[in-house]
């Protein structure tokens, strides 16, 4: 067992975890944050994507103990004051989902790629989505949603400057 202290969606959290606890099981089982999904559980599908210190990673492929001292953001941490995050809003607007299972992972990846300035074209977005699988094969609208959110982020950045 290890005692870990980390920030989850802005709140400081301390917990005892078995060393072999995967981060995704800790988030879902011990923190009741079930928005982070488990798909294949083999680091292929991206359903479990979260941000660790601002970077998108697959939470099925790291132990909770590795996140000790880090700041973790899950899909539940994106909305602010009851308002959806602009990327969530863009997924809604562009119907970037069908069954919705891959959606939290897709959005966490999208937020990361937009923050890195990597969502520069539809081709680039598709390339960046390499680690996220949508079994409804609804990629077309997912790409449209990310493209729109990236353009909006670019516009608000330009307005701020």
């Amino acid at each position: 067992m290890s005692k870990i202290t980390l920030t989850v969606n802005g709140k400081s959290v301390s917990a005892d975890v078995e060393d072999r606890t995967l981060l995704v099981y800790f988030l879902r089982g011990q923190r009741a944050l079930t928005g982070t999904h488990i798909g294949g559980d083999t680091s292929q599908c991206g359903a479990c994507m979260v941000h660790i210190d601002g970077k998108a990673v697959k939470s099925c492929t790291m132990f909770a103990a590795q996140a000790d001292g880090s700041s973790v953001t899950t899909i539940e941490g994106l909305a602010r004051d009851g308002k959806l995050h602009p990327v969530q809003e863009a997924f809604r607007e562009h119907h970037g989902l069908q069954c919705g299972f891959c959606t939290p992972g897709m959005i966490m990846t999208a937020v990361d790629m937009i923050a890195r300035g990597a969502a520069t074209s539809r081709d680039a977005i598709r390339h960046e989505l390499e680690g996220n699988i949508c079994r409804c094969t609804g990629y077309h609208n997912i790409v449209s949603a990310i493209e729109a959110a990236a353009q909006q982020a670019g516009a608000s950045k330009a307005a701020a400057e």
Binding site: R20, D41, M49, T61, Q66
Partner: protein, 264 residues
Amino acid sequence: MIPYAFNYRRAQSIAEAQSLLKGDAKLLAGGQTLVSAMKLRLAAPSDLIDISRLKELTFIRREGDALVIGAGTTHHEVATSATVEAAIPALKVMAEMIGDPAVRHKGTLGGSIANNDPAADYPAALVALGATVKTTAREIAAEDFFTGMFSTALDENEIVIHVSFPVPERAAYAKFRNPASRFALTGVFVSKTKSGPRVAVIGAGSNVFRVPAMEQALATNFTADAIKGITIDAGDLNSDIHASAEYRAHLVGVMAQRAVSSAS
């Protein structure tokens, strides 16, 4: 999936990692290979020594004619480093092609070469660039380091500290991806160095290998045309559901030509 139980330890220094690394303990870097192997219960270390936060292992430096990269440096850091791009642009391009963004955020140079997956990209770069691997015990030339499928010259308790890549005149990497796994079905790294050209192939055989016939042809004429007619013997190559040995042999030729014509 739940792995066998183990003890997690976070090392505060290379020296501490070294002292903890005994018996069935294993180093943990990005975990992008090891965690999956543990979940499948293919690996059952007694202790995991996490070295991923060691600043001593995370750096990218230009040292004279060499680019030196710490073992703990992630693929993302290599892919976005201005120092790497200025010294060996082909290495940046190669790092960008590894897996997906999440894998690149965690996976490291040290973990990749210590694992020596026959389809991993880094072994091709190390061999084609004539790199040297520095460990806690010694310096090992890339060609002596990769000894076979998933095996290396590393001793049980030896830790990779950094890799030193001599800066070539030109180099390039061409990779034919397996669209499902993102690993290379076949990848070819070529370089033009002071001591002559080098061609290193991964994904096609059980271990990284050089192609002397292509290197000889490129020594007099570093163009794609110079290696056009050179065929690779399919006899020793991998054959699986993704590609036959003959197809891989063909891909070596095509990828080598693409790499040579894009070398910069």
